[in-house]
Amino acid sequence: MTAPLLSVKNLTIDYIGEEKDFRAVDNVSFDVAPGEVFGLAGESGCGKSTIAFAISRLHKPPALIRRESSILLNGRNVLDLDDKGLRDFRWREVAMVFQSAMNSLNPVLRIEQQFYDVLKTHKGMNRTQARDRTAEMLKLVDIAPDRMRDYPHQFSGGMRQRIVIAICLALDPRLVVMDEPTTALDVVVQREILQRINELRRSLGFAVLFITHDLGLMVQFCDRIGIMLAGKLVEQNTAEAIYGSPQHDYTKQLWASFPSLHGGVLL
């Protein structure tokens, strides 16, 4: 394997309570290669979203990332960044798609504005330049560029999620973290979005950290998969191996709880 793009090492995250702590992520290590799709699977509350948040350092107190942890992106430890460095790093290097398609866009700002604030902050673009870039990005996800003047509520759930993806790609990030990106959508739209992400990934070359509780979906979409249980990464392997020959008991249980999958066809 080539030098990893993202390298998470000994990541441990606690929620500090008044009396005792809750360990949400327990000594997790994994790598994501450039252009790779890495999946994190596990039931809700197992700590997978906590990892996603840590990569962009979005946690707020009382979350605490323990001293021994490191998150390297291109060899640089994200946890060492100062405020300014962190602001520059966010979105330019790691962009993120959040769980709920309905709520990721600011309901009172035009779509155009939500592209513009990224493009202005990171690239110093003016309105006209930003509009061109916005149009280009919207075309990538099959949304008519003239709709950039609309507000989020004027789009369907699937369209909103595609807009979020377009905003994610506006700065050509090398890693896109997707935290349950399609859970709120119906199955047809879900499939359409994943296909689109895959095409874009092939043409633009970004890597994806894909987080879901839906192991079936994950096997179709990811190159490699890590299985999480109660904050620990209990197994990681290629998608084929996770599907064909799961090692850990928990992975087997997960599969057993699934209705039979009609031949794990990769996209």
């Binding site: 979005l58 600011n106 309901p107 604030d117």
Partner: protein
């Protein structure tokens, strides 16, 4: 726009309700309603004026509905009768002059305290748990839980009577002619400071807490987290993502607060002997000048409805989801 039209119809109904209350109250009291309404006039009122007043208030020979329609007729033709205390001045003149002062006082105080309170609330929510948050929250508890009448009395006692910094009565120096001169306007400002200070003390805390709580309820939303993930500056996320959205429920709670603001403003005027509606009303209550007392309910209701309508319009302007494409 359909939404605003519907609101307008509703306001008309609410105004009618206030008029209906006015109509039925004297008739529901034990005794002769005419006697009750105009008892304070004594023998001073010339008989033909009394007759005219009776007509205005619907005391005509005929069934109740006819009386009611007569009364509504006078209201909608702008005739609220004549004040008994200030006879022969029409109620509309007495209240109209006072209304200007009340609206000026109330309007300025609302704008100042809403702006200030909202900003304090934004900052407190953004730094939740900090010392600043504690100071704002606790300060708000103190300021909002003290009745306006108490705050006014305390303010007038310290700044007016004890320190003698500001006048304790009138809207301007009575020796000056009301005109748009610098001197007169300066005097108006000088006389308005204490009532303003009182109203702002009473109101700011409430707005701050409302904004703080609305904002805290929003901070977990995905679009706020995404805004942070986008690498936007803290102040940008705070203002354009969090506060901008939290403003919506805050503005709609402003509509409910208007009644309180109005009440507070009435009381403050009485304490500061400020020539607004509150003071006129106070005098009218002492003199049992019922035409003025009834008239003020209509004028206040109308003021409240106009203020509500302004809130409705700003809500529509603030929330793109209410605009029709």
């Amino acid at each position: 726009m359909a939404f605003l039209l519907r609101r307008l119809c509703f306001y008309l109904a609410a105004f009618l309700a206030a008029a209906t209350i006015n109509f039925f109250l004297p008739r529901l009291m034990p005794g002769d309603p005419v006697q009750i309404m105009f008892s304070s006039a004594g023998a001073e009122l010339p008989p033909e004026s009394l007759q005219a007043l009776k007509l205005t208030f619907g005391f005509v020979d005929g069934p109740l509905w006819q009386q009611y329609l007569t009364y509504l007729g006078s209201i909608f033709s702008g005739d609220l009768g004549r004040s008994i205390k200030y006879f022969p001045l029409p109620v509309t003149t007495v209240l109209g002059n006072a209304l200007i002062w009340t609206v000026g006082l109330m309007g300025t105080a609302t704008i100042v305290s809403f702006t200030l309170g909202t900003f304090l609330g934004i900052l407190a929510a953004w730094r939740r748990g900090s010392l600043f948050d504690v100071i704002v929250s606790v300060g708000a508890i103190f300021a909002t839980s003290v009745p306006a009448v108490v705050t006014s009395l305390i303010v007038v006692f310290f700044f007016g009577f004890t320190l003698n910094w500001f006048p304790t009565g009138y809207a301007a120096d009575p020796a000056l002619d009301p005109a748009f001169t610098l001197q007169y306007l300066g005097s108006v400002l000088y006389h308005g400071i204490l009532p303003m200070l009182t109203l702002c003390t009473v109101l700011t805390g409430g707005f701050a807490v409302t904004m703080r709580n609305n904002m805290i309820n929003l901070l977990g939303e995905d679009y706020i987290i995404m805004a942070r993930a986008k690498g936007l500056s803290d102040s940008h996320v705070m203002l354009w993502y969090a506060a901008r959205n939290a403003l919506l429920p805050t503005v709609s709670s402003l509509a409910i607060a208007i009644g309180t603001i109005l009440g507070g403003s009435l009381v403050t005027e009485v304490v500061f002997n400020y020539p607004g509606l509150g003071n006129i009303l106070y005098q009218a209550i002492l003199a049992r000048d019922y035409p003025v007392i009834q008239g003020q309910l209509l004028i206040m209701t109308a003021t409240m409805l106009v203020a509500n309508f302004i809130v409705d319009v700003s809500y529509v302007l603030l929330d793109p989801r209410l605009k029709r494409a």
